[in-house]
């Protein structure tokens, strides 16, 4: 049995006609790092919300099919139990700050207070999580005084400290500057390397190509492609549908028609592109 298991999932938000997700079948094994790509409106966020339990528990609407994460069924559990299973981090770092706490340390402890973790254990877990994400030096700062990248790492740490079994990320770097993006991606990579199951919606194709185990392309609420980064990101099926494609792939595709790219497949990373063009 897969760790994450979605079977025939179709979902409609309240007061809408067209389903946001249509007949999604998805299996993710423990420890996999899966990237979700697709144009805006393809259903990436909805899928993230579904994995994290907010669809249907928070947004209501109509969900059919079955959603199972780490042996738990979404329709048989309430949201506050589900969030211990799957942690969610989304785009806007500012809106993820609880607003109830005055220091980063307190902010990260907030979730543990809510679920009744004893004080001594709480402190140990907060410190450990901050070390892991490299924000120990921010402990006494106000969460509102931080940069976007720092805030997003605080948001990530606040979720990781709850020790969810799956980490769900909805474009966590889309609102960040280059250094913030680098900081946040650094933490995500660490988590993936430590064997955490990570499912992340993301536009930054070059990064996905380098680090994800698997890429799923969503289009109009359906899974269009599911495979290795190279299989998916170089596929002609993505063309003209609003998908972001790496410049390496698209320039090699043009070079191929000019006879300047001679390899079988197209490149997705700098390495592959450099390699392929050198030998041409």
């Amino acid at each position: 049995m897969a760790f994450v298991n979605l079977t025939n999932v179709t979902y409609k938000y309240p007061l809408t006609q067209t389903p946001a997700l249509q007949n999604i079948n998805l299996r993710v094994e423990e420890g996999e790092f899966v990237a979700l790509i697709g144009p805006n409106g393809a259903g990436k966020s909805t899928l993230c919300y579904t994995l994290a339990g907010f669809v249907p528990h928070f947004f209501k609407g109509e969900l059919t099919g079955s959603v199972e994460v780490a042996g738990m069924q979404t329709n048989q559990s309430s949201l506050h139990e589900w969030v211990l299973n799957a942690g969610l981090v989304f785009q806007n770092p500012f809106n993820q700050i609880s607003g109830a706490k005055y220091t980063v340390f307190e902010e990260i402890a907030f979730g543990l207070e809510n679920i009744g973790v004893p004080r001594d254990e709480m402190k140990v877990r907060v410190e450990e999580a901050m070390r892991l994400t490299g924000i120990s030096d921010l402990a006494d700062r106000s969460p509102y005084s931080l940069s976007g990248g720092q805030q997003q790492r605080v948001a990530l740490t606040s979720i990781l400290v709850m020790q969810p079994k799956v980490l769900v990320l909805d474009e966590p770097t889309s609102q960040l500057d280059p250094i913030g993006t680098r900081e946040v991606f650094g933490v995500i990579r660490t988590m993936a390397e430590r064997g955490m199951t990570v499912i992340m919606a993301e536009h930054k194709v070059e990064w996905i190509a380098n680090f994800a185990d698997r890429v799923i392309a969503l289009h109009e609420g359906q899974i269009l492609l599911d495979g290795t980064p190279r299989e998916v990101l170089t596929s002609d099926i993505l063309l003209d549908k609003g998908f972001g494609i790496s410049r390496y792939t698209s320039v090699a595709r043009r070079a191929r028609t000019l006879g300047l790219w001679k390899r079988e497949g197209l490149p997705v990373t700098l390495e592959e592109a450099a390699e392929g063009f050198k030998n041409a």
Binding site: P178, G242, I245, R247, V251, R254, K278
Partner: protein
């Protein structure tokens, strides 16, 4: 209409020195991309161009206007400014009314407002959404409404603050197209962006800022090739520039055409 910035310093009331001596001339019709990490002073700089901020020291001139002597509402006739978050400016019941707000404020005659609005809607691919409520549109399309509402003001200078943030590939392509049309019409376009590939492909001139100063300023190819200096402001060169460097190209390339041309030269 030229932009003249001389020895511009700006300190926020909190005491933060955001700009420390910026001197810059931007000629009419130039396309300029500004890069650099948050806090480098990019937004503070462009907010001086339409008078939202006034220099602590130094001077900013838009054509023959010193920005200190004109209100923001007056300067709006010369400098259009698309804010980063469309939700900070949209309020009308339908797209057409929203887009007409700016040109009406500028006091253009009715027929001209109509014409400018229609043209802006066409350019932003919103022609089929004119009756929609902006709030019912997706964030991607709200962004286009915000862009249209500034374009319709027909200013000689247009500023975009992070236009591609949170946008998908199709939307980025639409925005690039708007910038191309503006260039063809001889408008000056100044764009703050973190998307370095977008910057390389759409702007001939690039300014890199760091800590309130200009780090680099010049032709995109020259600036974006300065890997070591750009690293100081955490900007990676564009993908194709990096690939070109790996392949030993002499020149820095900034788009697919240049890359392919350089590649042909190499193999020839």
């Amino acid at each position: 209409m030229n932009i003249e910035i001389s020895d511009l310093h700006f300190t926020y009331p909190s005491g933060v020195q955001a700009l420390r001596g910026i001197s810059l001339t931007i000629e009419a019709g130039e396309q300029v991309g500004i890069v650099g990490q948050n806090g480098a002073g990019k937004t503070t700089l462009v907010r001086h161009l339409n008078g939202l901020l006034h220099p602590t020291a130094g001077e900013v001139k838009i054509g023959d206007w010193d920005t200190r002597k004109y209100s923001v509402a007056k300067l709006a006739a010369r400098v259009g400014y698309v804010f980063q978050n469309p939700d900070d400016q949209l309020f009308s019941r339908d797209v057409r009314t929203e887009v007409a707000f700016g040109p009406k404020n500028l006091g253009y005659p009715k027929e001209q407002v109509e014409a400018l609005v229609s043209e802006a809607l066409e350019m932003t691919e919103l022609a089929d959404k004119t009756e929609a409520n902006p709030y019912d549109l997706s964030p991607t399309w709200r962004k286009m409404v915000a862009i249209a509402s500034v374009i319709a003001m027909d200013t000689p200078i247009v500023i975009f603050d992070e236009p591609t943030t949170g946008q998908d590939a199709a939307s980025v392509a639409r925005i690039a197209n708007v910038i191309r049309v503006l260039r063809e019409r001889g408008k000056t376009v100044i764009t703050i962006t973190h998307d370095i590939d977008f910057c390389a492909e759409n702007f001939e001139r690039v300014i890199a800022m760091s800590q309130g100063r200009i780090l680099l300023d010049g032709k995109a190819n020259d600036v974006l090739g300065q890997e070591e200096i750009l690293a100081a402001t955490y900007v990676d060169p564009p993908q194709l520039a990096r690939l070109g460097r790996r392949l030993g190209f002499k020149e820095t390339v900034r788009n697919e055409e240049e890359f392919l041309a350089a590649l042909k030269n190499m193999s020839a």
